[in-house]
């Protein structure tokens, strides 16, 4: 039972209610900036003539969760990708790796942490909806079970094909995301990358990491073998030299 959010860009009027609710819910300092930062976890902006939101996509197999060396990023059972500031060492690999460029950093603090949308995981645990979804006056942002939302989104495209680009963004991008988009303009124009593989990005590194134990054993055995062989050969050579150096008469005695 995995939760998700559906954002329908054709319904957004740019009122900014979601951004204000987010600030209030997470006690983030004002102002509401025009792009996401460590203190502004979601934005509403007009791009290509269309109002669109930027927020964490809450990937089904999150890249940030796979790359964090200390497990500060975690995917909850309900589907939210949450961040544990107490574990974070500040390597910023999550920022590098996230295909959507979501995690942001407190560059101006001597003790900095990462900031990103956490799908109001605490509200979800209480059985409530994320703050942004509850305040949206037009139903542009809706909360629900991901499967239901995806079916609903496909139904909207089927009923009004002239209104939408025929794809639900997030249905399979980078292995699928819990936050999905509908739009009347190409998703790239909303700032969403359209060149992502359909598989989770973490497969790329796991293919290598998974082979390390085999490599270590085989290379270790190989190196020891070479070490033993070359030393043995040197010993034999030394013995042969020693024999050759002995007086010939001793062999006959």
């Amino acid at each position: 039972m995995s939760a998700g959010l559906l954002f329908d860009a054709t319904k957004c009027i740019g009122c900014g209610g979601c951004t204000a609710a987010c600030k209030e819910e997470h006690e983030l300092p004002l102002p509401i900036e025009d792009r996401t930062t460590a203190a502004t976890w979601t934005t509403v902006q007009k791009r290509a003539g269309v109002w669109t939101r930027t927020m964490c996509m809450h990937c089904l197999t999150p890249t940030c969760v796979s790359v964090c060396p200390v497990g500060a990023m975690q995917k909850t059972a309900r589907g939210a990708v949450v961040y544990d500031a107490e574990k974070c060492i500040g390597c910023r690999y999550c920022m590098m790796a996230c295909p959507f460029g979501i995690p942001k950093y407190q560059w101006d603090r001597p003790v900095p942490i990462v900031g990103k949308c956490v799908m109001c995981a605490e509200r979800l645990a209480d059985g409530k909806q994320p703050a942004c979804a509850t305040v949206c006056p037009t139903g542009a942002t809706t909360f629900g079970e991901r499967d239901t939302l995806l079916a609903d989104a496909r139904e909207r495209i089927r009923q009004s094909p002239q209104r939408y680009v025929p794809h639900v963004y997030g249905s399979d991008e980078a292995g699928g995301t819990a936050v999905m988009y509908l739009s009347s303009v190409p998703f790239a124009k909303l700032g969403l990358p359209e060149n992502l593989p359909r598989q989770p990005l973490s497969l790329l590194t796991w293919q290598v990491l998974g082979k390390i134990p085999d490599y270590a054993m085989m290379a270790g055995a190989f190196l020891y073998g070479i070490h033993w062989l070359t030393r043995r050969r040197m010993q034999l050579a030394a013995e042969a030299n020693a024999r050759a150096a002995r007086p010939a008469g001793r062999a006959g005695a």
Binding site: G90, P112, V208, L209
Partner: protein, 383 residues
């Protein structure tokens, strides 16, 4: 006997330069930890990794690769004529890793939590592998280096203990450092849509190991030249020439694999319309791989005391450019910003290099690093 060590250091250009750099380094260090990363660096949400990762870590680890290469050649393949350069190379490797750790402490947002990697595990993270490789391989390097210190202090028993575990230690060192070199390449496997196609490849882990071996060998040549000049020792061309032959093989294999991969992905087609990235690539591959490789094919050049260090410098520069291209040039287009490190970021990087030179000089002065100096020293002490 003690007059040699008590003599005040002569104040030439490099000594003054080094002192200025180290003072500036201390000032930046204070600002970094009191005001945060944003106050001293040009890093941003769009460009979170800069020159402290690209140069201090990626290049530092790569240039330390001579240590595992020479350790393997001498102690696993038993090619013992390289024994005389073993200790300086080991020292370079150890200092390289200590400086990488110092660089990491600057770059991490909360470096005082570096121990978290020991307790909060995530084996799916390349960064987790990197962290463990740094810790374990630095430990191995320290254990490999300690006999030199024990020899100086005339501590026979601990020296024997370390000698007893010598072979497993060397094997562990080779495994850990090859894993570490490759893992730095693996770090970038996760950004297929961000890293420019001239540098992204599924084979990045292999490319990082191979280029590090080549750069490590070139560093051995350079460091032998520099210490030869600094300590008034003659160049051991009978050792460096075979190393140069190894360099031909390592650089050739790396260059070939690189070319094959560019051909397979079709990324070489980008070179037909050269832009910023293409020019940086041509600089890297041209002066760092093709030109030195061709020159090294000539036996007279490999044997030349003038040419070989110069060509090795080219190889090292090409290597540095490669790591900076992967970490900076190749990431700029996707980030949508141009990253140019701040003067303070430069100061830290240059300061760490300067610190490396100072520590090398100190170690070379007080420890038996250059073994063939020992008889000369004994003779001087006796006379």
């Amino acid at each position: 006997m003690t007059t040699r060590t008590l003599r005040a250091p002569r104040l030439g250009f490099w000594e003054v330069f080094g002192a200025v750099v180290l003072v500036a380094f201390a000032v930046v260090a204070f600002l970094r930890f009191s005001r945060g990363l944003g106050a001293v660096t040009h890093l941003s949400d769009q460009f979170p990794w800069g020159v402290w990762i690209g140069f201090d870590v990626l290049c530092g680890v790569g240039l330390a690769a001579g240590a595992f290469t020479i350790m393997a050649i001498v102690h696993i393949f038993h090619i013992e004529r390289f024994e005389p350069i073993l200790r300086p190379t080991l020292l370079t490797g150890l200092l390289g890793y200590l400086l990488v750790i110092a660089g990491l402490l600057f770059d991490l947002g909360q470096p005082w939590r570096i121990w978290h990697a020991l307790v909060f595990w995530n084996p799916h993270s390349v960064m987790f592998e990197v962290a463990w490789c740094v810790m374990l391989y630095t430990t191995v390097l320290v254990l490999e280096f300690l006999p030199i210190v024990f020899e100086r202090l005339r501590l026979e028993r601990p020296r024997r203990v370390l000698r007893a575990i010598g072979t497993p230690l060397v094997i562990a060192g080779v495994l850990l450092s090859t894993l570490h070199q490759s893992s730095l390449g693996t770090l970038y496997l996760i950004v297929p849509t961000k890293l420019y196609p001239l540098w992204y490849s599924p084979m990045l882990p292999f490319l990082f190991v191979m280029s590090a071996v080549a750069a490590g060998l070139a560093m051995v040549v350079l460091e032998s030249t520099l210490s030869g000049r600094a300590f008034g020792r003659h160049l051991e061309m009978d050792i460096l020439e075979p190393l140069a032959r190894g360099l031909v093989v390592a650089l050739g294999l790396y260059g070939l694999l690189r070319a094959l991969l560019l051909h397979r992905t079709g990324a070489w087609l980008l070179l037909l319309h050269p832009g910023y990235e293409e020019r940086m690539f041509l600089l890297e591959y041209g002066i760092g791989v093709v030109v030195p490789w061709c020159l090294l094919l000539v036996p007279a050049i490999r044997r030349s005391k003038q040419w070989l260090p110069l060509i090795s410098l080219f190889v090292v520069m090409g290597f540095l450019l490669n790591r900076l291209n992967v970490s900076v040039t190749g990431m700029e287009r996707a980030a949508g910003v141009r990253y140019i490190p701040s003067a303070m970021e430069f100061t830290v990087s240059v300061g760490l290099v300067a610190l490396g030179f100072v520590l090398f000089a100190l170690a070379a002065r007080y420890l038996p690093i250059f073994p063939d100096e020992a008889p000369a020293r004994a003779a001087a002490d006796g006379g």
